[in-house]
Amino acid sequence: MAETLPRTRAALAAWDGEGLPPEAAFAAMAQELGAALEERRIGDVSQRLNFERTGMRALLLRTARAAPRLVAPYAESLPALDPRWAQPETWQLIRRAGGPTTSLYLLRALDLTRMPDGAIRAVDPDQALFRTLFLRTLWVSVIVTLACVLLGWPVAAAIASLRPPWSSTALLLVLVPFWSSVMVRSTAWFALLQREGPVNDLLLLLGVVDAPLQLVGTRFAVLLATIHVLLPVAILPMVGVMTRLDPRHLQAAASLGAGPWLRFRRVWFPLSLPGVLAGAAMTFLLAVGFYITPALVGGERDQLVAWFIAQYLNRDVNWGMAAALSVYLLAMAGAVMALLRVLTGGMPVGARG
């Protein structure tokens, strides 16, 4: 806006916002739009204003194309071209967009919008999307994290208790899937879960179901595949901490008369907790940003925030919206991490046992 329509912006800044702006603003608008079209930098401004109000792109381009034919006084020739130039709301919107910062994207990413009078309201229910999306992302990430920790802990404990070469063999079994592509593992789940896939074939063969289940495109599939993909991320930090546990702690506990259960509950388990927290933290942080797996095995109601960020970034080229969603996602992840730290009394995440 500052680069494309500098004189319009200055003229509107001087305007009191009541009624229609002075002739200078109309003239600057007509001339600068014409020049912007000619020099091909009208796109940014027209997209930006169109995102604020649908139809603005068409209005600006139409005016820019007609600009060479428009004559003074522009306060008459612009409204004659399109009646929207005679509406104060149009000018107020442009004036507001001329500021150095905008709350537009941050508001939209929370399903809020600013009315022409400046008040902030919830968007039309038909357009509301992002609050649901953030809650869903949080919910899916928490479930995935809990499942990964609960499933990963016994595996990690088992690996830590094995002797070489079995311990490294077991670790390799965790590492191989960890190293293989997320894409490949997610696609494999699609193949397994599809209507005529092995899972449904087995269920039919065993007589558990009469007709193939719809598994692909469900929340269940998303959770299952994401948990599988992230499980090694949870296991590895736990193994790291558990293998470094000093066996003398257990010996000391035994020498003081603690039985196996007490040794586990009072000594070994608490000492393994930093690993559990590190595993949980890494799993959660990766889960909030997940999008390949939900895109492949999930349905329309299973996409997470990251999918929309990618969509805005790559497809719609609306980087403002992508940035606003990213900021909230980062804040959400940060808040959960901080909460985790407070709940654990500031225990160092991933510290040596």
């Binding site: 995102f51 649908t54 509301a128 896939g197």
Partner: protein, 340 residues
């Protein structure tokens, strides 16, 4: 740390080398691009002696914008979709086509814009596996008739095309679709039509998915890209492809702004839109050329009954300008609808 510095130093040294890179053309990849390489690209190098490298992308224009803004242009000629081309042209992401090098007269009507020269036509239409479903819908109203033709249907995930289809499913004639869809009442009607058969709908994201979904029996009827469907049929798939449900548009060749090879890029576009190399391509792949002499060539048409040019008159051309204006709002409304 030292290693990181060395890496950075290596990058800085490597950067001027980018200026000497070869002329690079980027399209959608896949088998089509393999055939393009043999028929279009290699013949350009043979004729002009200019070395040419080709690469593929997923039609996401974000990276192109990033390379123009960073002034590190590594692609020269790109195949782009119509909305991206027009937006990119307004934003100065693409160069204006030099019509003194590229012959503007050879294209079909609508086949050129300020920054783009028509590359290929593409479309979507309904298809089904006849071995699973001997009968299927023959128009959009029947596609919406879930009593008469039971089974799940899959459409592209997105408002563009889906809302047009929903209106036609609700009985709006093709010629009226964009006029109706421009009104709030028309938009309401489109979403209400989607609501009506929502339990029977599935939405795909990647172009190969409709074929996989139909092959796997996940859906009974699919709206998919006609090129891919036709290709699967030539590969032996027992599909019925319905041309009365065609929605189509063009893809264009464009030159990335700031390309160090802009002059050769224009010559390349002139060559790959010429009838001779396009005829060679049409012999190995059922393209839908935008070059009139090839698109209207009876020999080319006769060779490929599944070529879109033969059926284009039965379809609806997607209104690019409509979607540039209404797209952001309708796409978000569609995303919100999907998530409800």
């Amino acid at each position: 740390m030292t290693r990181l510095l060395l890496l950075l130093a290596a990058l800085v040294i490597a950067m001027p080398a980018a200026a000497q890179r070869e002329l690079t053309i980027v399209a959608g990849g896949g088998q089509l691009q393999d055939h393009m390489r043999r028929t279009l690209f290699e013949s350009f190098t043979q004729r002009t002696g200019v070395p040419l490298r080709d690469s593929s992308y997923d039609y996401n224009v974000g990276p192109i914008r990033a390379m123009v803004q960073a002034r590190n242009v590594t692609w020269d000629v790109v195949m782009v979709e119509a909305p991206d081309l027009i937006r990119g042209c307004e934003d100065g992401i693409f160069e204006r086509i030099d019509w003194s090098v590229v012959n503007r007269e050879k294209f079909l009507p609508g086949g050129t814009t300020t920054c783009g020269a028509g590359a290929i036509g593409w479309g979507v239409s309904v298809f089904r596996d006849v071995s699973r479903n001997p009968n299927g819908p023959s128009n959009w109203q029947e596609f919406w008739d879930v009593q008469r033709f039971p089974g799940r249907r899959t459409l592209r995930r997105g408002a563009r095309m889906t809302l047009e289809i929903a209106l036609m499913g609700d009985g709006v004639p093709a010629a009226e679709v964009y006029r109706v869809l421009a009104t709030p009442a028309g938009q309401q009607r489109a979403f209400a039509a989607l609501d009506r058969i929502r339990p029977h709908l599935h939405f795909w994201t990647g172009g190969q998915q409709p074929i996989e979904l139909v092959n796997a029996g996940e859906v009974a009827f699919a709206v998919g890209f006609v090129g891919r469907t036709a290709n699967a049929m030539r590969g032996g798939a027992r599909f019925d492809l319905n041309w009365d449900t065609l929605l189509f548009s063009f893809d264009y060749w464009a030159v990335v702004r700031g390309s160090p090879h802009a002059a050769n890029a224009m010559r390349l576009i002139e060559h790959i839109t010429n009838p001779e190399p396009l005829r060679a391509l049409s012999e190995v792949w059922p393209i839908n050329p935008v070059t009139a002499a090839v698109a209207n060539d009876p020999a080319v048409r006769g060779r490929n009954p599944l070529m879109m040019s033969n059926h284009q008159h039965r379809g609806l051309q997607i209104d690019t300008e409509f979607w540039l204006d209404q797209g952001p709002e309708l796409e978000q409304r569609f995303a919100a609808w999907l998530n409800r």
